[in-house]
C-alpha cells in the first residue's frame, strides 16, 4: 500500500478530507462573522448557537413534520435567519451607538440562553440525522474511498462562499453593502435604507450559520453543544485571517481545517490546540492577521 512518511496514503487522505470538511465549516462561519462585523461592528458570539439551531431545525423538521434534507437545506437557514433578524431588531439595534463590547456580551448571553434551552430539552447526547438517500454511499477514487456526502459538504460550502463573494463584490446590492460598511451615514444620505440593510445582513449571517448547521447535521450528531465547541475555534480563525476580506476568510478557514487534519495524522496530541498555536504565531509576526488591514 502506498504511504507518505510511513503513514498509509488512505489514512492521510481520509484525515485531509476531514480537515477540508472542518475547514468548510470554519470558512462559512467566519464568512458570516466577517459580514456581520463589517456592518454592525460587533462580534456575534451567538454564531455558534445559530449554527446549532440550523442543525436542530433540520432535525426537528424531519422528526415532527417529516420534511427531508433538501427542503430543510432552504427552510432551516430561513428560520435561523428570521430569528437573527428579530434579535437584531429587538436587541442589537439598541446597542448601535455603544462600545462594540456590549454587542459581544449581549450575544454571549443569548448563546448561553439558546444553548441552555436546547440542552434542557434534548440533553447532551446528540440526535442522529440520516444522510439523505441521494448522497449515501461512496466512491472509490483509487487512492482513497470518498464518502459522497463529505464530498458534497465541501463542494456545497465552496459554492456558498463563492456565491456570497460574487453577491458582495459584483452586484449593485453588494456595492451598497460595501459602501455602508465604509460610511453608513453617507450611504444613508443617498436615500438607502441602511437600518434595513443592517437587519438583513445580520439575518443573512445567521442564515449562513444555520446552513452550515444543516450541512453538519448528518456528519456530527445534532448536539446542543456543537455550537460552542466550534465557535471558539472560528474566533481563532478570524483572528488569524483578519476580517478584512471575504476570500481571505474562506482561504484561512479551509487552510486551517487542512492543517488541523494533517496534525491529527502526524501529531494527534496537538490536533486540538494547533489552531490556537498558529494564532499565537500570527499575532507575533503579523498582528493584524494574514489578510487584515493594519489598524
Amino acid at each position: 500500500m502506498a504511504s507518505v512518511f510511513g503513514i498509509p496514503l488512505a489514512v492521510l487522505m481520509g484525515q485531509l478530507l476531514l480537515g477540508l470538511i472542518n475547514g468548510a465549516f470554519y470558512a462559512v462561519l467566519s464568512l458570516g462573522l466577517a459580514l456581520i462585523f463589517g456592518l454592525l461592528n460587533i462580534i456575534n458570539f451567538a454564531h455558534g448557537a445559530q449554527y446549532m439551531m440550523g442543525a436542530f431545525a433540520a432535525w426537528l423538521l424531519l422528526t415532527i413534520f417529516g420534511i427531508g434534507y433538501w427542503p430543510a437545506l432552504v427552510v432551516a437557514p430561513l428560520i435561523v435567519g428570521v430569528f437573527g433578524m428579530a434579535v437584531e431588531r429587538t436587541m442589537l439595534r439598541r446597542l448601535a451607538k455603544l462600545d462594540p463590547l456590549y454587542g459581544l456580551l449581549l450575544t454571549f448571553g443569548l448563546a448561553l440562553v439558546i444553548e441552555g434551552l436546547f440542552r434542557q430539552q434534548y440533553g447532551v447526547s446528540g440526535q442522529p440525522y440520516q444522510v439523505p438517500s441521494a448522497l449515501q454511499g461512496g466512491m472509490n477514487l483509487g487512492f482513497m474511498f470518498l464518502p459522497i456526502y463529505r464530498g458534497w459538504v465541501v463542494l456545497a460550502s465552496l459554492v456558498v462562499c463563492l456565491a456570497t463573494w460574487i453577491a458582495i463584490e459584483k452586484t449593485k446590492l453588494g456595492a451598497l453593502l460595501r459602501a455602508a460598511t465604509e460610511n453608513p451615514s453617507l450611504v444613508r444620505a443617498f436615500g438607502v435604507n441602511v437600518p434595513l440593510m443592517i437587519t438583513a445582513t445580520y439575518g443573512f449571517g445567521a442564515a449562513l450559520a444555520g446552513l452550515a448547521g444543516v450541512l453538519a447535521a448528518p456528519i456530527y450528531a445534532v448536539n446542543p453543544l456543537m455550537g460552542s465547541n466550534i465557535i471558539i475555534i472560528v474566533f481563532a480563525v478570524v483572528v488569524i485571517g483578519g476580517m478584512g476580506s471575504i476570500l481571505g476568510s474562506v482561504l484561512t478557514g479551509f487552510g486551517l481545517g487542512v492543517i488541523e487534519g494533517l496534525t491529527k495524522v502526524f501529531y494527534p496530541e496537538a490536533s486540538s490546540t494547533i489552531i490556537f498555536v498558529i494564532m499565537a504565531i500570527v499575532l507575533l509576526v503579523k498582528p493584524a492577521g494574514l489578510f487584515g488591514k493594519a489598524s
Partner: protein
C-alpha cells in the same frame, strides 16, 4: 468619622458571618469575588475585556492541587506557586493579546484560554476528566491546620482582603490613573508619553496573578481542581459577575460575585436553568442597566443628593 464607622461595621460583619451563614458558601463567594475584583482591574479600569480569565483561575488551582498533593508543601507556598504560574501565563498571554485591540483582544484571550483547556484535558498532572481530587489543606506556615471550617474561612477572608488591598492600591495610584487614561483614550495617553503597552501588560499580569490567587484558594477550599475551572464558561461567569455588579466600581464585582454564587447555590439542582438564567441576566444588564447594581445605586444616591442640595 463616618468612614471609619462603616469600615468597622464591614469588618465586624465579615468576621461574624461564618456563625450565621454556611462557611463553604461564604468562602466560595469570597474566592469568586476576588476573581471578579482581579478581572475588573482589566475590564473596569483599563477597558480590556478578557474572555479567558478562567485559564489563570483554573491553572493556579491545578498548580496548588499538584503542589499540595505531590510536593507536600505548606498551603501558603502552594498558593505562591499558583500565583507565580498564573502570573507567568498572564505575561505570555498578555504579550500576545495586547497586540490587538477591543473585540479582537476578547477573541484572542478566549482562544488562548481554550488552548489551556485542551492542554489541561490532556496533560497527565491534571488527571483529565477526574481533576485533582482530595487535595489536602495542610497547615498554614506549617503551624495552623486549615481543616477546621472557621479557621479556613478566616484564612480565605485574609487572602481576599489582601487581594482587594492590592487592587485598591493599584487603582488609586499614579499607575491606576494611567490605566484609566488608557481606558478613556489610548492614543491620547500615548501622545502624552506613556508607554501604554507596558501599562496594559503590567495590568494584565497583575490581574492574572490575582485571578490565580483566587483560583488557588478555591482549590484549597473545595479540595478539588477540575476542568470546570478552566472552561470558557467560568470565563463568562466572571464577566457576568463584574458586569452585573458594576464594572469600574470597587464594590461592584464583589456584589456581583455574591449574587451569581447565590443564584448558583439556589438553583444547583435545576441544571441547565442556571445557564439560561445567567444568559438572561447578561441580556437584561446589557440592555437595561449597563452600570450594574452598584453603579446604578451610586448614580441614584448622587441624584438624590443633588436634589436635596438644589
Amino acid at each position: 468619622m463616618n468612614r471609619w464607622i462603616v469600615a468597622l461595621i464591614v469588618v465586624a460583619v465579615a468576621l461574624a458571618a461564618p456563625f450565621a451563614i454556611y462557611p463553604i458558601f461564604l468562602m466560595k463567594a469570597l474566592c469568586f469575588a476576588l476573581f471578579a475584583v482581579a478581572f475588573n482591574l482589566l475590564l473596569g479600569y483599563t477597558g480590556l475585556l478578557s474572555f479567558g480569565h478562567a485559564a489563570f483561575f483554573g491553572m493556579a488551582s491545578y498548580v496548588v492541587g499538584h503542589a499540595m498533593t505531590k510536593w507536600g508543601v505548606t498551603p501558603e507556598l502552594a498558593l505562591l506557586a499558583g500565583v507565580v504560574a498564573a502570573g507567568l501565563m498572564g505575561l505570555g498571554f498578555g504579550y500576545l493579546a495586547i497586540r490587538r485591540q477591543g473585540i479582537y483582544f476578547a477573541m484572542v484571550t478566549l482562544a488562548l484560554a481554550q488552548m489551556v483547556y485542551f492542554f489541561c484535558l490532556q496533560a497527565p498532572f491534571t488527571h483529565g476528566e477526574d481533576g485533582i481530587q482530595a487535595i489536602p489543606r495542610g497547615n498554614l506556615f506549617g503551624l495552623i491546620p486549615l481543616d477546621e471550617p472557621h479557621t479556613l474561612y478566616y484564612f480565605v477572608l485574609a487572602v481576599f482582603a489582601l487581594g482587594c488591598a492590592i487592587v485598591w492600591r493599584a487603582v488609586h495610584s499614579p499607575f491606576g490613573q494611567v490605566l484609566r487614561a488608557i481606558r478613556e483614550n489610548e492614543p491620547r495617553a500615548t501622545s502624552l508619553g506613556y508607554r501604554t503597552r507596558h501599562y496594559k501588560l503590567l495590568a494584565f499580569v497583575l490581574s492574572a496573578s490575582l485571578a490565580g490567587l483566587a483560583g488557588g484558594t478555591k482549590a484549597l477550599v473545595f479540595e478539588l481542581a477540575s476542568l470546570t475551572d478552566v472552561h470558557w464558561h467560568t470565563s463568562g461567569e466572571v464577566v457576568l459577575m463584574t458586569l452585573l455588579g458594576g464594572m469600574g466600581t470597587v464594590l461592584g464585582p464583589i456584589a456581583g460575585a455574591f449574587v451569581v454564587v447565590m443564584i448558583e447555590n439556589k438553583f444547583a439542582d435545576a441544571g441547565d436553568w442556571v445557564t439560561i438564567l445567567q444568559g438572561l441576566i447578561f441580556v437584561i444588564v446589557v440592555l437595561l442597566f449597563r452600570k450594574g447594581i452598584v453603579g446604578e445605586a451610586v448614580d441614584w444616591w448622587q441624584r438624590r443628593k443633588a436634589q436635596a442640595a438644589g
